[in-house]
């Protein structure tokens, strides 16, 4: 049997010992997982970020403009110094500025404007039938917004709308929770599949 499968099988069992109670075997497996994940990520980022995007182009390719991000990156370490920690604000300001500049238009369009425009649709479908979905979306949108509108007390018509909004929210949370349970169950099923098929070889 492949040594990787044996290790994976033993580690899976070690993790499941937590079902009994917290114990050294579980903790060892957990620490191993965290260490491996961080180690793997560090190696990948070292190669794909520092080597590929900075060290090679700067020192072997002669792209001297890359001195600017190098200096900005090094300034981040000034946070360890009480006297010079203010210098770290420069790269942070640069990151926040560029990040916001790139993200705001894209997110505003995809998450707000497109969602708004798609919530306004004709009541009569192309085949001539009544489009009930549009009504459900409109009622759901308005009542959910009413629930999150806090500038007016939730009484009378406003209170009723907010109440209906909570039902829509509960349906959403229920669906999301149901899907999440499915996902977590799938993870367990995947491990059982691995243990039975690959580790113990009980199934073909």
């Amino acid at each position: 049997m492949d040594i990787g499968i044996i290790i994976a099988g033993l580690l899976t069992l070690a993790i499941y010992t937590f079902l009994y109670r917290d114990n050294p075997i579980y903790r060892a497996a957990e620490h191993w997982l965290i260490g491996l994940t961080i180690g793997y990520a560090m190696v990948v980022f070292w190669q794909t970020t520092l080597v590929d995007l900075l060290i090679l182009p700067l020192f072997a390719g002669g792209k001297y403009i890359l001195v600017v991000p190098l200096i900005l990156g090094l300034l981040m370490f000034s946070r360890f110094s009480g006297r010079f920690s203010w210098l770290s604000r420069l790269p942070i300001a640069f990151m926040i500025g560029t990040g916001a500049g790139v993200a705001i238009p894209a997110m505003l369009y995809a998450r707000t404007l497109k969602q708004l425009s798609s919530s306004v649709a004709p009541l009569i479908a192309e085949d001539g039938g009544f489009n009930i979905e549009v009504v459900v979306v409109a009622v759901g949108l308005l009542t959910t917004l009413a629930y999150f509108y806090f500038s007016r007390e939730h009484k009378g018509a406003m209170g009723k709308m907010a109440k209906v909004g909570t039902y829509f929210l509960m349906i959403f949370f229920g669906a999301t929770f149901g899907y999440t349970v499915m996902s977590r169950m799938s993870t367990f099923i995947g491990r059982i599949d691995f243990l039975l098929t690959d580790f113990l070889r009980l199934l073909g």
């Binding site: 990520a41 990948v44 894209a106 995809a110 349970v181 499915m182 996902s183 367990f188 599949d193």
Partner: protein, 271 residues
């Protein structure tokens, strides 16, 4: 009954139900959902040699759901003789994505460089997505194996998203949404997603607004896709176990409620 023994009974019951599902040969009759049918039809109607891009944007922990979805889509794409550019915007997905692609490519006798390539991982995913809208080779000058990208026949026919028919993000988080926001909105690129079940509701608004073509979600989506494709695999095996586990959980909820109401009535009628 002590709390510990109750817990043990619940866990042991769940394990027994899942193991039982694996050793029985019951076949579930799953009908494809509209989303999965749409994904399947899309690949089925694409002309041969069309270039698609698959981005492996997930961690190893989501493999039980991600693997059957990925394998089903890859098998369908290779059977239809589509050409695939693979990449990853999530460090952990890199080696996994390469393994999946090479495994399925071998099944269908596909040649690396001509029928498929794997470009590897690129950090700063937003920059990478935006950069590929200008030039894919500029973002990935080398592939995962270290070959210059412009030495690969497939990559010589691709400049930017204009040559990519569809981007499929296999995601267990919100990377797919970033594909929609930056490649979809910015470059009018069609996006499809293979998702873990937990993420399905987060992506639904993008389908409703027409920004996302469709999704294949969770073990159920994988099983439906496998059935349409005609090759049952981990999706179908897992779906039976999942369905039985769900029934088990529902029974536990019912028992829990009965016990709760009985004990409340006993308390209220007590001295």
């Amino acid at each position: 009954m002590s709390k510990l023994s109750t817990r043990w009974i619940i866990y042991a019951g769940l394990a027994a139900v899942v193991i039982l599902a694996y050793i029985t040969s019951i076949q579930l009759d799953t009908r494809p959902s509209p989303q999965v049918q749409k994904a399947y039809n899309y690949f089925e109607n694409l002309p041969e040699s069309t270039i698609i891009m698959i981005s492996f944007d997930h961690e190893a922990s989501s493999l039980p759901e991600i693997q059957p979805i990925t394998l089903a889509i890859l098998r369908h794409a290779f059977r239809r003789n589509l050409r695939i550019i693979g990449l990853s915007l999530f460090a952990e997905g890199t080696a996994i994505g390469y393994r999946f692609m090479t495994r399925v490519a071998e099944e269908f006798g596909k040649e690396y460089g001509r029928d498929y390539v794997f470009l590897g991982f690129k950090p700063q995913h937003i920059s990478a997505i935006l950069g590929m809208g200008e030039s894919i080779i500029r973002v990935f000058p080398e592939d995962y194996l270290g070959y210059p990208a412009d030495s690969l026949p497939l990559m010589r026919q691709v400049y930017n998203y204009n040559e990519i028919e569809m981007v499929i993000s296999i995601a267990d988080g919100d990377r797919g949404i970033q594909w929609i926001e930056y490649a979809g909105a910015g470059y009018n690129q069609s996006i499809m997603c293979g998702l873990t079940a937990a993420m399905v509701t987060s992506y639904d608004p993008y389908i409703a607004s027409g920004q996302l073509y469709c999704t294949v979600g969770g073990l159920a989506g994988a099983a439906e896709y496998e059935n349409l494709f005609g090759k049952k695999g981990a999706g179908n095996r897992g779906l039976l176990a999942q369905s039985m586990a769900h029934i088990y959980v529902i029974i536990l909820i019912l028992i829990g409620n009965v016990v709760y109401f009985k004990s409340r009535r006993r308390r209220n009628s007590g001295p």
